[in-house]
Symmetry: C2
Subunit: 575 residues, 2 copies
């Protein structure tokens, strides 16, 4: 008895020690992706959850940790992948989680191991990257704290995590079919905005409250506003990330200012705002000091920007303790800026600069400049988005495998164009709206420095140009500048900010404007660069960058089971 107790205690100690050791290095997760019923806005819908939950579980790690997600696909008949948005995947390009690009979709009943390192503290998230599964609810937060012994360059007393999204009542299957149909069927505006998977639809809570007419009776906890419990006179970090399908958002807190300190996992020079625009694919940290009348609670709200909004704002309550969280704020929710007030949006974007001393400045010159014209087009009567007149059609065999193993004809050959015709008028609909579909890719010299100019233009309708948040996989990039109208290769280049441009992984182009970014192609792999609006990507709005693929290590077979790599593997023709 004594011996067995001793054994038990020893084994407990060993297991505790092992856990402690592993906790600081590798974090294990076992996930099952499957359909669940949920009511994010109190309207029940079948959506994609992880381990029965929506949104998926939050991953919390420290910089330098290794994340280990054993992902089982428990969908009935569909494949699945998960992309770790903002994580560079240096040395593990096969773990980027992009179907047709970095890996084969995981078949039903199969398990895929995502194993990757999180290098840098910051606010990240993850989401589906196959078909439009992100819009079906397949997303969650990934928060990386500073490594032990390291410190964030700002102080706070507590933090909250707000994952923002938008919500459609139509299934993603119906959405995908509509977008792929002739005649084209647009998905329209979302029915609801969500904060941490909860939003207020149809019960008109926001409207009622603005009019002071009291609480919505039918509100269940599924869609009740999230409560942020705070103490007076403290400073809180709000981590905000947007994984919306379509909506550009604006977030504000009644009576409170916010100090922006982080963008996409990079520190920025702190600046104060009353409200903040967040585009799909972006993340921010803001510091909020609870210095207002502590006997009151306050609304935090998010509303739609950049498209004529048909969706009510979503709300959260900043609850000053010891007030009851159900005590309604005395003041109305913040008013969302006019949707078309782009100057307001630009003034925010222009203020985002690298934090002094946080990173070294970018290379002062680039080896190559790629100008990407964003246009709405038709291909054989199907409505598409195109880049330099090519609408991206992903190939059946993921690029990473077919390029690494030099398979022929796995995707369209030829380099896509580096620029667009000089006589193209970005202010008017395309004269000839026909474009073509292709899966061709930009091959980029390893370790070279590349400038990309994203040039916005008129869409198919007259006087319409839309916001597009572009997200780059595998890299952060410096945002060198923004401008209105057509990019001028002399004047605008001369005005690039080469001193303290912010590092981002997502950046917006404003209507009829351009945005210039620079990155170093130092991450062997194949990387998507695309509009983060889910239906736009589905309609072909993206390009593929391949760099240093010859330096990619041994790709796990599980990432190669489909298409030509699958066939080659089976014929034993791959190393």
């Amino acid at each position: 008895m004594a011996t067995s107790s001793l054994l038990l205690i020893s084994s407990c100690i060993i297991s505790v020690l092992l856990q402690a050791a592993s906790a600081s290095k590798t974090r294990h997760f076992k996930w099952e992706v499957g359909y669940i019923y949920a009511s994010p806005d109190c309207n029940e819908k079948v959506l994609i959850g992880i381990n029965g939950k929506f949104p998926g579980p939050t991953i919390r790690a420290k910089a330098g940790d290794t994340i280990h997600v054993e992902l089982k696909n428990a969908l009935h008949t569909e494949g699945v992948v998960i992309h770790w948005h903002g994580i560079r995947q240096l040395g593990t390009p096969w773990a980027d989680g992009t179907a047709s690009i970095s890996q084969c979709a995981i078949d039903p009943e199969e398990t895929f191991l995502y194993r990757f390192r999180v290098e840098k503290a910051g606010t990240y998230f993850y989401h589906g990257h196959y078909g439009m599964q992100r819009a079906a609810g397949l997303y969650g937060s990934l928060i990386v704290d500073a490594a032990d012994g390291e410190e964030e360059p700002f102080r706070y007393d507590g933090e909250f995590n707000l994952l923002l999204s938008d919500w459609y009542h139509q299934s993603i299957y119906d959405q995908m079919v509509g977008l792929s149909s002739k005649p084209f069927r647009w998905i329209g505006e979302p029915q609801t905005l969500l904060i941490n998977g909860r939003g207020q639809h149809n019960c008109s809570l926001a409207a009622h409250l603005i009019e002071g007419s009291g609480k919505c009776e039918s509100m269940s906890k599924d869609c009740a506003p999230v409560v942020l419990r705070v103490l007076p006179n403290k400073t809180y970090r709000l981590r905000i990330a947007s994984t919306t399908s379509l909506a550009s958002l604006n977030l504000a807190i009644g009576n409170h200012k916010m100090v922006v300190v982080e963008a996409d996992g990079n520190y920025v020079e702190p600046f104060m705002v009353g409200d903040i625009d967040i585009y799909s694919g972006e993340s921010y940290s803001v510091l909020v000091t609870t210095d207002q009348n502590p006997s009151s609670n306050y609304w935090l709200s998010i509303g739609v920007r950049g498209r004529k909004p048909k969706t009510s704002p979503a709300l959260a309550i900043v609850n000053y303790r010891p007030n009851s969280p159900s005590k309604l704020p005395e003041s109305s929710p913040p008013v969302v800026p006019e949707w078309s007030d782009y100057n307001h949006s630009k003034s925010l974007s222009y203020r985002i600069l690298a934090r002094r001393g946080a990173t070294k400045p970018p290379p002062q010159s680039a080896d190559r400049r790629i100008v990407l014209l964003n246009t709405q087009n038709t291909v054989d009567g199907y409505t598409k988005w195109s880049i330099n007149n090519i609408s991206l059609a992903l190939p059946p065999t993921p690029y990473l495998g077919s390029m690494r193993y030099r398979l022929k004809n796995a995707f369209d050959g030829g380099m896509p164009p580096e620029n667009f015709p000089s006589n193209y008028d970005v202010m008017r609909p395309p004269k000839n709206p026909n474009s073509t579909q292709s899966s061709n890719a930009y091959v980029i010299r390893f370790n070279s420095t590349v400038d990309v100019i994203l040039q916005n233009a008129n869409a198919l309708a007259v006087n319409v140009s839309e916001i597009h948040p572009w997200h780059l996989h595998g890299h952060d990039f410096w945002v060198l500048g923004y401008g209105d109208g057509r990019f001028d290769e002399e004047e605008d280049v001369a005005r690039f900010n080469l001193k303290n441009p912010p590092l981002r992984n997502t950046v917006v182009i404003f209507p009829y404007g351009w945005t210039a970014i620079r990155f170093v192609a130092d991450n062997p792999g194949v990387w998507a660069f695309h509009c983060h609006i889910e239906p736009h990507l589905h309609m072909g709005m993206g390009v593929i960058f391949a760099e240093g693929v010859e330096h990619v290590g041994r790709i796990p077979k599980e990432a190669l089971t489909c298409g030509m790599t699958g066939k080659m593997l089976m014929d034993n023709h791959l190393p």
Copy 2:
């Protein structure tokens, strides 16, 4: 000029000759399975079509032909397979089109070649056999005519093909999630019945017509009754097949009798009926003589049997030429027999016998008897159907590959039970409703003769026992008998019809009754035997028969790309 004309003519002749030669032997089809919008009952829905059409194209061939279907999966994120219902697949078990059983689901963008021989003239159909894709509209007709020089044992002047189905407005994704959820959510009764993909919903055509109040105004051609144009005093063959998800149907034609001549691709001794019950998975040919008043048109209608109907009948018009097809029949559509009048149904089933001289009688004794108790159960609180207390859970690796290559642990070991406890009361709900899930399979000695007794029982609710049409893949079987209550292994066996039992591939068990079948295990492969009701199969209502797997030829790699066979192939461990 003259030479080139000559060349052109010669090449035309050669091509015509080649076509003529190939037309009688191998028939090539190139199909793309994809989502389309369609309005089968004038309510638009996204459904699965083939080459943009719903139902899929009709395959027409002659006995002895080889069918060659190059099937491309153009669904966005889902796998797909197609089962050729009633085709034996002798020598080609990998072409049976059953996911998890005969092949891996075809991934999006991939193409699979179905190549198989149609041996026997008859009325067949094809349909999806992965998840509940059949219920999403993935089906069509497969008609095999007598070989050149052969004759059907009956004469007719023309024929019509009627593929019957039922239709739900809820998507199959929502249906699958509900059926797989705790608490269980039943799909309910179908919204509409369809004849050749058309039905009348909500516009209450049938009701109006019965009351003589005229045509439904809003009817568009998508859901208008199918018109069968006939001449007076001729005999027509109606080919009728049912691929319903749930509904058992009854078909009748106003004022006309029908002579049943074929069932499931086998000739039956002709007999006359006023109406005919058709269960999901069955097919019939009936002869109808147009001997009624030729100045009138007549209704053909199908209605629900065996479940309290909440679905209106679907209609077709038998249009005696030269009447206008839009001339409404003078008499009301036939009245569907009372849904619970099982004696009416039994009297039909009992009359179906093999046509004299058409086939040889069955082996007069069996080598083995397997008794399969059908019960509704719960497994960990999930509602399931079980066979001898096992609810079928299909494995990630298809049986055919894992058995052929003797892979370990690809499915649950152990033989499932051959019988059920003698004290089980089939008339009452299970005392202990808990059952287990398993993927274990019945291994059957090659070329042995097997009797299977399907024993129906009470469902979970008191006084409820449902109809289940059981379908066997890879074989026709003889229906040796039916009975009420518990099967008696002495008395009932003694009463088996061993003289002229009909050959079928699908047979029904009536509430609280039993059905006995016999088959010869002469088809090397792995074959599903299951309730053809789509939600019941999804809930585990089936068993697996494996026979002579060692005689299976080289399985095409394309059928093995998933699960353990996929891994073994990639590690080059398979022959």
